[in-house]
């Protein structure tokens, strides 16, 4: 009873948000509705007892793929006026593609035949005695290991392809060499000097600071050169 109510609730939200993905004006809202749709699909998986699939759906699609979608869509500078003009111009082409797709889908659906054992399978999605994850693992890594690994390989080729296409080593870009930075030691960068007070200040006339205008010239020699600001003398090296 509760399960049925939850199913219809989630299914209704799923369909509604899927419609809003296409229907909403703002692309960011579309992506957010897409995320809602993913969520409800995960909830439906949970109701069907496929807890592992539900979690993976949330982790992969909501946690990673949709984040990147949102990332890109937010960066787009979309002019809604232009978008509406485009709809008026291209609606014939769009409608034709849509109609063909719909016809194909209808044809597929018309020729759909359920395997005789499918009805029983539906009632027990999980083999008894083992958890969902174990059951999936046993099938994936035994009977279908070849297909599974092939799918992984194809994904990796796609990933490497994307990297190769976008990675350009620009000669102008500067790189930070972390290793040389961390291997720098104090001894090779810092030199400690011990200087007598006032040493090397002859260029500025024996003074550590520019000579201030004094009212009494007789007092000038003794005071300034030997005060405790002697440390400034290092600057002259």
């Amino acid at each position: 009873m509760i399960t049925a109510i939850l199913f219809y609730l989630f299914a209704a939200i799923l369909l509604g948000s899927a419609a809003m993905v296409v229907g909403s004006r703002n692309p960011v809202h579309s992506v957010l509705f897409l995320i809602l749709a993913f969520f409800n699909a995960a909830a439906l998986f949970l109701i069907a007892g496929a807890e592992f699939l539900a979690m993976i759906l949330v982790i992969v699609y909501v946690g990673a793929v949709a984040v990147l979608f949102l990332f890109v869509v937010m960066m787009l500078d979309v002019d809604f006026e232009d978008l509406r003009k485009g709809v008026q111009r291209y609606w014939i082409a769009g409608a034709t593609v849509g109609a063909v797709l719909f016809a194909e889908l209808a044809a597929v659906l018309g020729g759909w035949k359920l395997a005789p054992s499918a009805g029983q399978l539906r009632m027990s999605p999980v083999p008894s005695g083992v958890s969902n994850t174990v059951a999936l693992g046993r099938i994936l890594y035994t009977d279908y290991v070849f297909l599974f690994q092939t799918a992984g390989l194809i994904l990796m080729v796609a990933m490497i392809g994307a990297i190769v296409l976008t990675l350009r080593d620009r000669k102008t870009s500067r790189h930070q060499n972390i290793r040389t930075q961390t291997e720098r030691s104090v001894s090779e960068t810092l030199q400690m000097m011990s200087l007598s007070i006032g040493a090397g200040t002859t260029a500025s006339g024996g003074y550590l600071r520019p000579k201030e205008p004094e009212p009494e010239p007789a007092d000038a020699h003794g005071g300034h050169g030997h005060d405790d600001h002697g440390g400034h003398g290092h600057g002259h090296h």
């Binding site: 592992f52 993976i56 982790i59 949102l70 930070q176």
Partner: protein, 338 residues
């Protein structure tokens, strides 16, 4: 009574509700005192006194702050997307609370002891980024947006290596259930044999919770306060609470995965007298102290350094360690047979 709570629909719903309350109320008090502890620890490390005026030792300070936040006006910027603007902080806070449903605080003390507990936690923590992105976008401010972008990139990057660390632990356990993960550490806590992964995981949790030294999303020296620059009053407080609740959550996760959860350090007399939940809380406190210690010690990472650490150091390291663990378990026949 037992029959009512376990065998009738109303009873089960009521029991779940009571359980959730029994977990969330201490959690929120914990969050409040975490802010106090943070200020006190930082103060001690910087030779200051910290809050000491409101109440004895300043203990009422968190509640004074909360009241102050409540009294303030909620300002919604005129150019913002109103609904999403308010949804962002709520989402952050809700997700931080939601994850606690599967955390076992003691043997059998989990609200939902589900089979795929660790995946659930991973899923919920990866959703945390939405609160931030939505807030950054809905604010319609460039600082908020920059903060949100940084945060999204950062959280997605560190999730990858975190996932591999989780898989390494799961290999040693043979189950996705959190209770089973803790029970697998009866003989030795995983922080010893998997020490490098423990370090990687802890640093990744720092990045995942946007804590210093990875607090670039809010980097106040460059982008003011990042994604929550436009927020005030309760909407800001929700972000704040969410961030601290996430810190506690990540500490709990570290405790469960590497520090033996509710188990006593040694399975012998004087240690086992103390109830498991006390051990659990103590361990969380130790991990949280490391969070605060890190904040007081390290300067903020530069953005490219952050990305380099995530993708070029942690990812290969955790990947190699995963293969190594699998190899060792296979070679010595230690694979858990689930």
């Amino acid at each position: 009574m037992y029959d009512f709570f376990h065998n009738t629909d109303t009873g089960i719903v009521l029991l779940t509700f009571i359980e959730a309350l029994a977990l969330l109320v201490p959690l929120l008090i914990g969050v409040a005192y975490l802010t106090y502890a943070e200020r006190k620890v930082l103060a001690a490390m910087q030779l200051r006194k910290g809050p000491n005026v409101v109440g004895p030792f300043g203990l009422a300070q968190p509640f004074a702050d909360a009241l102050k936040m409540l009294m303030k006006e909620t300002i919604i910027p005129s150019g913002s997307n109103r609904l999403l603007f308010l949804m962002g902080p709520m989402l952050t806070f809700m997700l931080a609370m939601l994850a606690w449903a599967v955390i076992p605080v003691n043997d059998g003390w989990a609200i939902a002891d589900i089979n795929v507990g660790i995946l659930y936690l991973f899923a919920i923590s990866s959703l945390g980024v939405y609160g931030i992105i939505i807030a950054g976008w809905a604010s319609n401010s460039k600082y908020a947006f920059l903060g949100a972008l940084r945060s999204a990139a950062q959280m997605v990057s560190y999730e990858v290596s975190m996932g591999f660390v989780l898989v390494t632990v799961l290999l040693c356990v043979g189950s996705l259930n959190l209770t089973a993960i803790v029970k697998a550490q009866q003989t030795v806590w995983f922080c010893l044999p998997l020490f490098p992964m423990f370090v990687v995981f802890f640093i990744s949790t720092l990045a995942e919770t946007n804590r210093s030294p990875f607090d670039l999303p809010e980097g106040e020296s460059e982008i003011v306060a990042g994604f929550f620059v436009e927020y005030s009053s309760m909407s800001f407080a929700l972000f704040f609470l969410g961030e601290y609740a996430n810190m506690i959550l990540m500490s709990a996760l570290t405790t469960i995965l590497f520090l033996g959860g509710w188990l006593a350090p040694f399975n012998m007399e004087p240690f086992t007298w103390i109830p498991g939940v006390v051990w659990f809380v103590l361990k969380i406190c130790v991990v949280l102290f490391f969070f605060l210690w890190t904040r007081a010690t390290f300067p903020r990472y530069r953005y490219d350094q952050l990305m380099r650490l995530g993708w070029k150091v942690f990812l290969p390291l955790s990947l190699v360690w995963l293969v190594l663990t699998a190899g060792v378990l296979m070679a010595f026949g230690w694979l858990p047979n689930a």
